[in-house]
């Protein structure tokens, strides 16, 4: 599971108010390199919950990876950004798409309900007595 996915998910179980952001408890994670796509990242940026993304990098022990406020469009589009390891584009790319949580848990902030992540797949299915009517 990438942090992009983490940024999109919430607990939808009965009893949760917003169920978001899910706390991230990581047992095992890896990085896999991928080709950055600047257009995709620029399009995604306004849809992200930046604070939640930054918090997620912190729970992985990567406090310096992302700045406290989101990069601007101009920063993402800067010349050579795709090739410069330290550029805003590459950092965002790394955080959103290159980090993979293999094993761990997503915890609902309202109810403490745990959603396991195993083999990289978050299990968001509810038990039969948790579905809202």
């Amino acid at each position: 599971m990438r942090l992009l996915t983490h940024n999109m998910l919430a607990s939808n179980a009965r009893g949760a108010s917003t169920g978001y952001p899910l706390k991230l408890q990581v047992v095992k994670w890896t990085t896999k390199e991928a080709e950055p796509n600047a257009d995709f990242l620029r399009g995604m940026l306004p849809k992200l919950d930046w604070a939640a993304l930054v918090a997620a990098t912190h729970s992985l022990g990567l406090p310096g990876l992302l700045p406290e406020s989101p990069p601007t469009d101009a920063e993402l589009s800067a010349d050579g950004a795709a090739d410069d390891e330290g550029s805003a584009l590459r950092r965002l790319h790394r955080a959103l798409l290159e980090i993979h949580i293999e094993e761990g848990t997503l915890v609902c902030p309202d109810t403490e309900r745990c959603f396991p992540i195993s083999k990289g797949v978050p299990n968001m299915l509810l038990h039969e007595d948790e579905v809202r009517n």
């Binding site: 992009l4 996915t5 998910l9 796509n37 849809k47 797949v121 299990n123 968001m124 038990h127 039969e128």
Partner: protein, 503 residues
């Protein structure tokens, strides 16, 4: 400019929409709608020969043809006739300035004689080529890699069996090829050689057609909420899109058949970027955070219809022997408890899909999905397709399964934002749809088609009336298969669809 567009004679309903989708994809917004069609004189709409006007130059025509699955070729038409004399006259009348640039001495060329609905012997082909001396070819012949390819295409009365009017009358076309389909990708992606497939995996050709309807391309994000073995996302990823999928069945999305035979290995097999994410989730209770919207460029899927490969949703109430209250999962069992599920009716499944799409698609984004219908008097009735105030239906492509049942690939475009008011309106539409759908099912007994494959013959294939006239419109295929990919259920007893009379 008008071109001659020659199609493969298959999946007839899918052909024009595919060209229009690709025009939109390569030509930009509005280009799909700007495509115009005509038929050659005395040709029926099922003919392989169509005349098409594309909103762009020859490059657009080439891009469309090259990416298409159903376009055999797009040609600049130099002339046509019902006899070779008429053809000559027509080619002679075609403006010199359109012809000469392709006949120059320094160019190489090749002439192909093609026939439809008849066989032309090698000798006849030679004679036809020799008869073209009225065209001043100055270049050198190169059969392997010519600069210009010319086609003589001859059709006989074509497709006039089954008592239907002929789809094409004898016509001879002469044209210069502008682009041709690359069907090489079909043998590469055929399910036969794919590592991980399930009984409801989408065949490669249909998956590519769906990806084309969804305008899959680099920089776009495609979501399949019923991802199964990922066959639709594989097609979208082939065209460069980023992908995401979810399924209620954990065995399918996480485990597959082992570490080298699962969704991920399907992407590896073709050297495609793996999905951005694969989730286990129920589309009836989607796990998206509040405020998240307009994030997918396309939602493309084959929803679970039917009992055996049918839909399940969370929340089945299991009543243990002797208890009256709904089952509560004991705390010590929560860890590896397998949630029970309830049946997921077609109407509800479609409602959830439209709701998801209305919220999660970007404006202009596309929803592409299959929908089963009863055929009335030999046609699928568009009045019975599901609707949503945010969406405009732009294509419905029927694939006939039997005399009475079809599945229709619906392509919808998001044309309005999802507001609270729209949501209320959509609920109203849904209630009407659900009631009507219930009625249609009882009237037409769609139930038996979709939910209990009574029409299946002993060999497991849908029983098809061999004399069914329109059967050539779509190849027959196998909709209902084994239950292997079904989500887990602990309430086996209620596995049947509720509320409908099996009759």
């Amino acid at each position: 400019m008008w071109y001659l567009c020659v199609f493969y004679h298959r999946l007839l309903d899918y052909r024009r929409p595919e060209v229009q989708s690709l025009a939109e994809l390569f030509g930009g917004p509005g280009a799909g709608d700007a495509v115009e069609w005509r038929l050659p004189e005395n040709h029926h709409v099922d003919s392989p020969f169509h005349l098409v006007r594309l909103p762009g130059d020859e490059r657009l025509a080439a891009q469309i043809a090259n990416r298409s699955l159903l376009v055999k070729g797009i040609y600049e038409l130099w002339g046509q006739g019902t006899t070779y004399e008429e053809l000559e006259k027509s080619v002679m009348e075609y403006p010199e300035e359109r012809k000469l640039p392709y006949l120059t001495p320094e160019s190489t060329f090749k002439i192909v004689v093609d026939s439809f609905g008849k066989v032309i012997s090698f000798q006849e082909q030679n004679e036809i080529m020799k008869s073209l001396t009225y065209i001043p070819f100055k270049g050198r012949v190169n059969l392997k890699k010519p600069d210009h390819k010319f086609f003589v295409m001859e059709t006989d009365d074509y497709g006039c069996n089954n008592g239907l009017p002929p789809v094409a009358q004898r016509t001879i076309f002469f044209g210069r090829e502008v682009g041709a389909a690359d069907r090489h990708l079909l043998p590469t992606y055929q399910l036969k050689s794919r590592k991980y497939i399930g009984p409801t995996a989408m065949d490669a050709e249909m998956a590519f057609l769906m990806a084309n309807q969804g305008l899959a391309r680099p920089g776009k994000l495609v979501y399949d909420p019923f991802v199964g073995t990922g066959s639709i996302l594989v097609a979208a990823a082939h065209f460069g899109a980023m992908t995401m999928g979810a399924d209620i069945d954990i065995r399918v999305v996480r485990d597959g058949r082992g570490p080298d035979c699962n969704i991920w290995s399907n992407f590896e097999q073709y050297k495609l970027p793996e999905p951005l994410c694969v989730l286990r989730a129920d589309n009836n209770v989607p796990p998206w955070r509040p405020g998240l919207k307009e994030i997918f460029d396309a939602i493309i899927c084959d929803p679970p219809y039917g009992v055996r490969a049918g839909g399940r949703k969370s929340g089945g109430r299991k009543l243990l022997k002797g208890t009256v209250a709904p089952y509560t999962v004991p705390d010590e069992k929560r860890g590896n408890h397998i949630p029970s599920t309830a049946p997921y009716s077609l109407a509800e499944c479609v409602h959830d899909l439209l709701h998801l799409a209305a919220r999660m698609l970007v404006m202009g984004g596309r929803l592409v999905f299959f929908y089963p219908v009863i055929r009335e008097d030999g046609i699928a009735n568009p009045a019975k397709y599901p609707e949503h105030p945010c969406f405009k239906l732009i294509a419905s492509c029927e694939q006939i399964l039997s005399m009475r049942y079809s599945r229709v690939l619906l392509t919808m475009v998001k044309v309005g934002p999802y507001t609270e008011e729209v949501e209320k309106e959509a609920e109203q539409w849904h209630r009407e749809f659900r009631e009507n759908h219930h009625k249609w099912m009882e009237e037409g007994n769609l139930h038996s088609a979709v939910f209990s494959p009574a029409e299946q013959a002993a060999d497991g294939k849908p029983a098809i009336d061999r004399d069914s006239k329109p059967k050539y419109r779509g190849k027959t295929f196998h909709l209902f298969a084994n239950a292997e990919d079904e989500p887990p259920r602990s309430d086996q007893g209620s596995a049947k669809f509720r509320g409908f009379n099996t009759g």
